[in-house]
Amino acid sequence: MLWINDVLVSQGDGGVYNERMLGGARVWDPYRSKLAALYYVGKGIEISADQIVLYLGAANGTTVSHVADYAECVYAVEFAPRPMQDLLEVARRRTNIVPIMADAKNPEQYAPLVEQVDLLYQDVAQPDQAAIAIRNCVFLRTGGYLILMLKTRSVDMRKDPAEVFARTIEDLQIAGLQVVESIWLMPYHSDHAAIVCTKPANGGLA
């Protein structure tokens, strides 16, 4: 990833959401974007110009726009109409974003549209986040990576976030994924964790 004096940036046309510019590059704020926070607190996964990304829970396209600066192509899936309006506007100016209006819970809705991807990124506010990620792993090539942004509060309001975190990691492992990094996004986002997995060649993924 691209850093200028310890500030994470991405190379692309600015002005998407009034982001700050630094040396001609767009500052990627860890307080606004969970993926940026992951690069600050942990290792994350390098996104390179030859990679195809499937992005679930694209929302307003803020983080998507940064990912698109790094990747070859981003398939951005979003369900709600209001954020989709913004995402479409972002996609109009960034020709490597394919906006898809569909529910990440039902990958069969967009299966005819999405090719095999190198990176699966998920940031959805749903109770069954692990199940959604596992279901979407059909799009991921073997050796590809999954970055799951876990909103523990969406899984269960009443459960201890640490318990939800451990449980989710377990679920992903049972499904045959190999966890390479799991980390809380403090101090940038509370009750949010990132889990990075890889899809092994001999994967037991159903």
């Binding site: 989709m84 394919v98 906006p99 209006m101 809705q109 967009y110 005819p112 549209l113 090719e115 309001m157």
Partner: protein, 291 residues
């Protein structure tokens, strides 16, 4: 056979789909709803299929298709009858909060300017106080008071529009509980489709989230009513039967919301029976308790 946006792939070969954007869109809609075993693919398949020449064309065509599809879906969702009602109700509730807050602040300011002024023992409605401030206060306070009055006027107009629209979108629910309260239920449920799928017990406590979660977490009593308390038949009922009235009313509302969503028109027979049932729920229960 596997169907992709650019064509159908079979063991023997591949049939590219027609290139016309409108046709592609219609095709996409049909293959999205027909579930089949999914086989992961790469874009080169589309080239071999003869649908596109290269990567650039592949992405460009796919983007065009997806944008058109998303735009059509957004238009469809926004043209549903209840689409505009949601932001209207939320604006209305927000206006109430803001007007109260501003009036409160202005009154504090006014009191400092008039050391002997107090609202105690004199029933001065807030809007009268605001009018006085607008007329009598020089400078910014008068201006602010004027803006509060403007907001209050806008609020009154909005409330009328919300109520009228609620009667149009959900005639049965509105007939039972009034347009404004019906619209608030709709806003809490996130839409008519959502409201129609809620059980009566949820409708009864919709809008009493804090109390409900306190009940689930601790041993505090369960809430008897949420938004539906705003309806006169609930808040006018004697306290001992209020829970009962709320429950009966919520039961009928759950049915009304389902009629509104699935049929969309006023059902006179249902409404008459429901109204009677709700009215007697309060009365009979009170009588029974009195004996």
């Amino acid at each position: 056979m596997s169907s992709y946006w650019f064509g159908d792939v079979e063991a023997g070969g591949c049939t590219p789909a027609a290139g016309d954007p409108a046709l592609l869109e219609a095709r996409l809609r049909s293959i999205r709803t027909s579930p089949g075993p999914f086989v992961p693919f790469t874009w080169q398949l589309a080239v071999r299929c003869g649908a596109v020449r290269d990567r650039t064309e592949y992405i460009a065509r796919l983007r065009e298709l997806c944008v058109a599809d998303a735009e059509r879906r957004i238009r469809e969702i926004y043209s549903q009858k209840d689409a505009e009602l949601l932001p209207m109700v939320r604006m209305l509730d927000e206006l109430d909060t803001v007007i109260n807050l501003l009036s409160e602040r202005a009154a504090e300011w006014h009191q400092v300017r008039h050391p002997s002024f107090s609202r105690k023992y004199r029933r001065i409605p807030a809007h009268n106080l605001v009018r006085t401030m607008r007329e009598k206060s020089p400078g910014a306070l008068g201006l602010v008071a004027g803006r509060i009055e403007d907001l209050a006027a806008a609020r009154t107009e909005l409330a009328k529009e919300v109520s009228a629209r609620a009667y149009g979108v959900m005639p049965n629910t509105s007939a039972l509980i009034g347009g404004l309260v019906a619209a608030r239920l709709l806003s809490q449920a996130g839409g008519l489709a959502g409201l129609a799928r809620l059980p009566a017990s949820t409708i009864q406590v919709l809008g009493a989230k804090t109390a409900l979660f306190a009940h689930l977490r601790t041993r505090s009593p369960s809430p008897k009513h949420g938004i539906i308390f705003q309806h006169r038949r609930v808040h006018n009922a004697p306290k001992r039967v209020r829970g009962r009235v709320a429950r009966v009313l919520a039961g009928k509302l759950a049915i009304a919301a389902k009629i509104d969503f699935y049929r969309g028109e006023s059902d006179r027979v249902f409404l008459e029976a429901a109204q009677k049932h709700i009215d007697t729920a309060g009365g009979e229960a009170a009588d029974a308790l009195d004996q």
